[in-house]
């Protein structure tokens, strides 16, 4: 059974701090790892990492995939109150097109940024 674990489960920081969120996975036939941000309703897509794209960056957010350690980190620098959200990590796995895009999600990390 595919498994995705995120840590920490919750994190409280002050504006301007840098945070690192972790995601580890145990899956058969890894295809991709995705990060989502969820504020009040729908998760919004942040990054996708694959074997051919192990590092992504957008503004203050960046993410790295470590295929040897079967893990990924999401870094947020100079945090703002608007970064407060649940950050979800998900993995797609499956061989030869049999995954059908199914994602296994971690429990999420609840990030709270105080002013």
């Amino acid at each position: 059974e595919d498994k995705v674990v995120q840590s920490p489960l919750s994190l409280v920081v002050h504006e301007g701090d840098t945070v690192t969120l972790n995601c580890s996975y145990e899956v058969t036939n890894f295809r991709s790892l995705l990060w989502y941000k969820q504020e009040k309703k729908a998760p919004t897509f942040l990054f996708m990492l694959t074997s051919s794209g192990i590092e992504k960056k957008s503004g203050r957010l960046s993410s790295i995939l470590d295929k040897k350690e079967l893990s990924s980190i999401l870094n947020i620098t100079a945090t703002q109150t608007g970064d407060s959200a649940i950050y979800l990590c998900a993995v797609e796995a499956g061989a030869g097109g049999t995954s059908y895009g199914k994602l296994t999600f971690g429990q999420g990390t609840i990030l709270t940024v105080h002013p």
Binding site: A42, E92, Y100
Partner: protein, 112 residues
């Protein structure tokens, strides 16, 4: 551009009553479609997915069922709700050749 709709946004239903949640996608054709449930603001659990009209795969045994009567319409149903069916239900779609999924606004279901 593509958009995904879900309704209703919130629903309160008594135990034993039926359920029907609807999801539609606009601006695309033949998407993969997914139903997830999220409990207590944590991770998402995949319930059903569909790769085409009438093709439904279930991921977990449960009190729910899904149908895809049209290419861009995905329906989640139950004949008799249980208290444990309470949660936040999210529909998602995926373009055929990409990895990322895009989520609808969700339906918050409370079974009383």
């Amino acid at each position: 551009s593509q958009t995904i709709h879900q309704w209703p946004a919130t629903l309160v239903q008594p135990v034993g009553s039926p359920l029907s949640l609807e999801c539609t996608v606009e601006g695309t054709s033949n998407p993969n479609l997914y139903w997830y449930r999220q409990a207590a603001g944590r991770g998402l659990q995949l319930l059903f997915y569909s790769v085409g009209i009438g093709q439904i795969s279930s991921e977990v045994p449960q009190n729910l069922s899904a149908s895809r009567p049209q290419d861009r319409q995905f329906i989640l149903s139950s004949k008799k709700l249980l208290l444990s069916d309470s949660g936040f239900y999210l529909c998602a779609w995926k373009p055929g050749r990409t990895y990322e999924q895009y989520f609808g606004p969700g339906t918050r279901l409370t079974v009383t």
